[in-house]
Amino acid sequence: FRFKDSLAEDLQSADLVISHAGAGSCLETLEKGKPLIVVINDKLMDNHQLELARQLHRDGYVLYCNCSTLVETLQSMDLSALKPFPPGQPEKFASFLDKVFELQ
């Protein structure tokens, strides 16, 4: 399983995803509408990576725990409390650029 090209298929068939805090993993999972528990590695504390996971948790999109609290999180989780993740809006960026170049 080490380095598959894409986890898309596995993600599609999953009911729950437990992942590290990497942005790519989090966003890909949320975009597929799958419930996500983000596990923070206390020993590998890369603060930059935590920023997004923390924000997603604050906004109610993911559950959040560390290695030692994973089991109790799994036991007490309420996945229905998670909010659906709205997609990003690249069209806003296109509009913005068009205004910069006066293309509208």
Partner: protein, 169 residues
């Protein structure tokens, strides 16, 4: 590289054909982005038949966790390397989102602007991963870009000259 490429292709997804031809600049050590870009452009060509793009590679300006002093040297080298490329392409717009690769390209364009050779508009979009702090590229290019876009409100507060459009990728 990886995440940056995915993000930037999403940024490009809604742009009209006025933003053409597109010149992609990659780090020489980047193995995966070329495939993603070609696939994006192929799809695009299905809708916009006259769509054009090019791909150039430059030496990577900084490895992850490279020391500060050697980073300055390698970045200077990358700027020198980028100058002829930027001069050749003379872009109207440079769009970048944070990999170390973008700093020398933007600085070389900034230089060409100072020398009145070509005025390029530099638009920097900080990665969606950056919620509370800017990346190193962001901290540098905040001062050199014409438009600096952030995707989270905390950053807009800390960097008031930035543009906040919400999540755009």
């Amino acid at each position: 590289t990886g995440g940056h490429t995915t993000e930037i292709l999403r940024l490009l997804s809604c742009l009209s054909e006025s933003y053409s031809p597109r010149h992609y600049v990659l780090a020489d050590s980047d193995k995966m982005s070329e495939a993603k870009i070609c696939s994006f452009e192929q799809k695009r060509a299905e809708t916009f038949s006259k769509s054009q793009f090019t791909l150039d590679r430059i030496p990577r300006s900084r490895e992850v966790r490279q020391s500060w002093i050697s980073s300055v040297v390698t970045t200077l080298y990358s700027i020198l390397y980028s100058l002829p490329l930027t001069y050749k392409r003379k872009p109207d717009l440079i769009l970048c989102n944070g990999p170390g690769t973008c700093v020398p390209v933007c600085l070389s364009a900034f230089l060409l602007g100072l020398l009145r050779i070509k005025r390029t508009i530099i638009v920097y979009v900080e990665s969606i991963c950056r919620v509370e702090t800017l990346s190193l590229s962001g901290k540098i290019l905040y001062y050199f870009s014409d438009y600096f876009v952030v995707q989270w409100p905390d950053l807009k507060k800390k960097y008031p000259k930035s543009v906040y459009l919400g999540r755009i990728v």
